[in-house]
Structures are given as structure tokens and as C-alpha cells.
Symmetry: C2
Amino acid sequence: MYYPAPIAKLIESYMRLPGIGAKTAARLAFFTLDMREEDVNDFAKALISVKRDLHFCAICGNIAESETCTICQDTSRDKSQVLVVEEPKDVISMEKMREYKGQYHVLHGVISPMDGTGPDDINITSLIQRLHNDEIKEVIIATNATTEGEATAMYLSKLIKPAGIKVTRLAHGLSVGSDIEYADEITLLKAVEGRREM
Amino acid sequence: MYYPAPIAKLIESYMRLPGIGAKTAARLAFFTLDMREEDVNDFAKALISVKRDLHFCAICGNIAESETCTICQDTSRDKSQVLVVEEPKDVISMEKMREYKGQYHVLHGVISPMDGTGPDDINITSLIQRLHNDEIKEVIIATNATTEGEATAMYLSKLIKPAGIKVTRLAHGLSVGSDIEYADEITLLKAVEGRREM
């Protein structure tokens, strides 16, 4: 006898989550056994609901509860700026800032030849279409500061600039509250290059 | 706009799990959104099943798919030994060892005055009843090597010994494969005290 079948199945499901190995999955499964039935039912319903009730916005690719997302539906937002991010969660990070009032475009990935992801595998075509139709004046590229994120930013910039649209990239530099002592050389170099007059 | 409602609910559920904070819960929720629908449905079913299909064994308190657990049902196992553990998962750790062939008793907790858990709050009464009725010769106390685990072991020992039943406790000492250099003083003391002739 190892695990009873229902526990074994739950362990298997927990192990599909990122960063959860066999030991943690077993711990979570036994914890679930001790949880209130109500909370476990809510958990199961929330899982189902996330797949059933959420879609990707037909315009920008962000998470949406209807055909288009709340941001694309909001007529008070600036239509002249589009901020391009890798994933829907990046939209939420940006919204938490409470400063940006333009549109978004979610790529759902980055160009990564190593992983076999080319420009056609991510949500670029619909971005280009939006640029043709809309009154967009600036595209702000906010892909991650990784090799793939930079490569994707470069690709998009070369693609969009010829259409006469301004393309910008988020600034690189020191994190607010960080020590220079602990910053890596490349971040420090970018911070010096991007220095601003006081 | 922060999180869409279905995502917010799922984050809340993930946060109820031990060791999962707001950031990890959000990461898991977005990961769930990208999972195959089939896998998410399996996950939800496994959660429900663990609460619906598993009970605690009427004899020993271990996890059981029917009224009694597979170990209590197994007539080939030694009825003269009972190994007492804190939680059902400890039974599984012991069974993985593949050496112990006796019975178990699961306390579902430890005596902990700090947390307000007294002897009546854990599964001790049914253990004493088993000792009266059965042909038990030895009780092996395998509570954790924590303050509460030791206190519970002490309490049980004082309770059971007068009935003329042998009470033993798992050995304390160095973990197999560990360096003496990294062992704490108390473990080292226990290892010296418990030294055996070669």
C-alpha cells in the first residue's frame, strides 16, 4: 500500500503546477484532506470557472470575461498608445501602477528560436492589423528584459517603425530602493547610458 | 481593474494552501489558465474525490476508502504491535520502509497546551480501547521529534505502561548519510546516549 487512489490522483494534479514536486504535492494533498469541504468545493469550482468563463480578448489578447476585455471596452482610455506585453499577467502589473491609460496588446509569448517559437507563433499579426486600422501614434514595447524579450522588441521595432509610428521601449536601470553594490554590470551600464539631467 | 473575478477566486483558493502566498497563488492561477482543459477538470475532480471518497478508519484513524483501512483489513499483519503516529501521512512514510508489519494508530494531532490541544482532542481514547480488547503486546510511539511530539510520547507512555504493555519510542540519532559537523548538539547528544555495541 502506498497512497489510496484518490490521494494519488490529487498528488498527480498538484505536480502539474510549476515549482511543485512530489514531496510538496503530497503535503498539499494531505492538507486538502483536512480542509473544510466547502473550501475544497470552492477550489474545484474556481478551477473549472477559470477555464470556462475566461477567454482572450478578440482585440488585444488580454483575459476577458466577454468577447472583448474591460480595457478595450473602456472608451475613456487613450486610443493613441498601445503597450505590448508578453502575457496577460503583465497587463495586471501595469494596471496596478495606475498611471498608464492607453491600450494593451498581449503577445502570448516571445520570439525564441531555441524553443522553436517564431514571429508567426505569437500574437503579432493582429497587432499589425490594429496599427493599420486605428489611430495609434505610439507603440510601447514592454516585453521582459530577457534575451528573448529584447529580441522580440527589436523585431517589432523594425516591423512597426517603417509605418511611421513611434516605437518606444521601457527604461532599463536600477530598481527603486536597490543598492548599487548589488546591481549587476549590465543593469549598471544601462542605468549610466540612460542617465537623465536633474 | 485588477483581476477578473474567476482569476481572483482561484487565487484566493490557492492561497488557502500552506506555503503559498499572494504572488505564487497569482502565478499558479495564470498557469491554470494556460493548462489543458482536460487536466484542469481532472484536478477539480481529484479535489472533490479526496473529500468525498476518503474517510478515517474506524479502528486506527488512518485514511480509508471504506469503513476500515486496508492495513486493518489485512489479516496477514502482526496484531501484537501498534505503531502510533501523528498524521495519516506518517503511516505512508512507515509503509514506504517496507519493514514494519504490525498495526497503526493515528492520533490526528499532538498534545500542545500552547495551541489548546489536550489529550481529549486527539485520537487517544480509541487507542486505549484497542489495548483493552486486542492482543497487543507492544506500542511503538512514533510521534515527531518535536517538543509536542516528545510530550505526547511521554503522556502515552505513562498512560499505557501500567497496563503491562511494552512501550517503545523510535531511536534518535544521526540521519544516515549526514555529517557529524552539521548535526545539532541535541541530536549529537541523543546519538551518543543511544550508542550501540558493534
